[in-house]
Assembly symmetry: C2
Amino acid sequence: MITLTEENYIKAIYHLGKQGSNNVSTNAIAKEMETKASSVTDMVKKLSEKGYADYKKYQGVNLTGKGRQVAIGIVRKHRLWEVFLVEKLSFSWDEVHEVAEQLEHIKSEKLIRQLDAFLNFPTHDPHGDPIPDEMGEIKKVEKILLSEVAIGEQCICVGVNDSSSEFLKYLDNNNIALGTAFVILHKEPFDNSVSIKIESKEFIISNMIANNLFVKLS
Amino acid sequence: MITLTEENYIKAIYHLGKQGSNNVSTNAIAKEMETKASSVTDMVKKLSEKGYADYKKYQGVNLTGKGRQVAIGIVRKHRLWEVFLVEKLSFSWDEVHEVAEQLEHIKSEKLIRQLDAFLNFPTHDPHGDPIPDEMGEIKKVEKILLSEVAIGEQCICVGVNDSSSEFLKYLDNNNIALGTAFVILHKEPFDNSVSIKIESKEFIISNMIANNLFVKLS
DNA sequence: AATGATTTTTAGATTAATCTAAAAATATAT
DNA sequence: ATATATTTTTAGATTAATCTAAAAATCATT
């Protein structure tokens, strides 16, 4: 049996492991999990004993195949529930995370299979992140940061790098959503802000925002 | 904060308290929770300290108003999720309990409010049990056991006393569901079995079954 | 390569929920 | 009503997950 806490550590290691491709450090996990490093050491030892992670003292951890499978299962559930909350229960994209964090731990294969079908096999969650399929396959979304798009290019918003409620609400207030089309007019070297056009209206977007919006060229 | 375990004990006390109207005994809770009596003693002390239950040594427990409110909240969530599973995800009535036992602990007022609306404010779960409303009000279902109906009476199945998967599957196999209409033809004193007619076909129903089927006269 | 800073681990405690075994209280039955 | 049986509680341990404080290992810098 896998405990809820173990699942959360595995998920944290998975997400941290995607960023840098190195081993995940004890401190990084502690920060993500809001626990102390000593608690992390204990837990990664346990995950290692149970076959979910590879761990050598002072060297950080990595998920094993078995661990990655668990992680992807949780991510799949999380993102399917997010779709459910937005599409069926009228949640906004900044409200879903907290509830999905709970729902992702519900254990029932049939539940997820049926939910997936009920939602018509969605491929992306409300923030544009891909939903792993039943086999754990994840379609990579081709996306670049808005801050990296060249002047004159046209692009469409396909995801967010920061899914905090604050950032998402900011986007709502500025009428930016998944699918919104931009043209890049100008990039200000001084503060790295970006001038864009949305439906013939011009906006200036700070570097901080541009660094957290994923787009694809169109 | 209320823990998951506390919620489960509160729910157990609530359900046991509805049957006999006396205090709920330590052993009864232990049986329901599949724990030992000593664990129950510890927990009811804690529930009492936290204001969820009234407890005096050797005298059993009762929920306080606060405890009953928690219990009814859990029951509401459990039954709404059961409706969701059956109506939206094609679960059968014998499959829902296990999953609803997990879903009932998800904490989000908005989730339940929206789920309720999405399901069109159902009043009964798939087993015929009433769903408490947002204020905790429970419409009492008027129902009697099939074994108590007089010969010659006509009645309609409105609930089950035993919602074990085995019993529900038995009913499925015998084409008995909520809404099924019966006429009582004969009651056999020897084994307390009941002869009934469903849509002009006659059946003999054992006492054990008749004692677990709720009907209303029609 | 030595020293200082940082990270990680270990050692020992704590809390929640459970258990077993023994003691205490209550219930039952002759 | 007294002895026996049952129920309940207490006492003391155990496991999972956490913590603090100290020790050990690794990293970084000159």
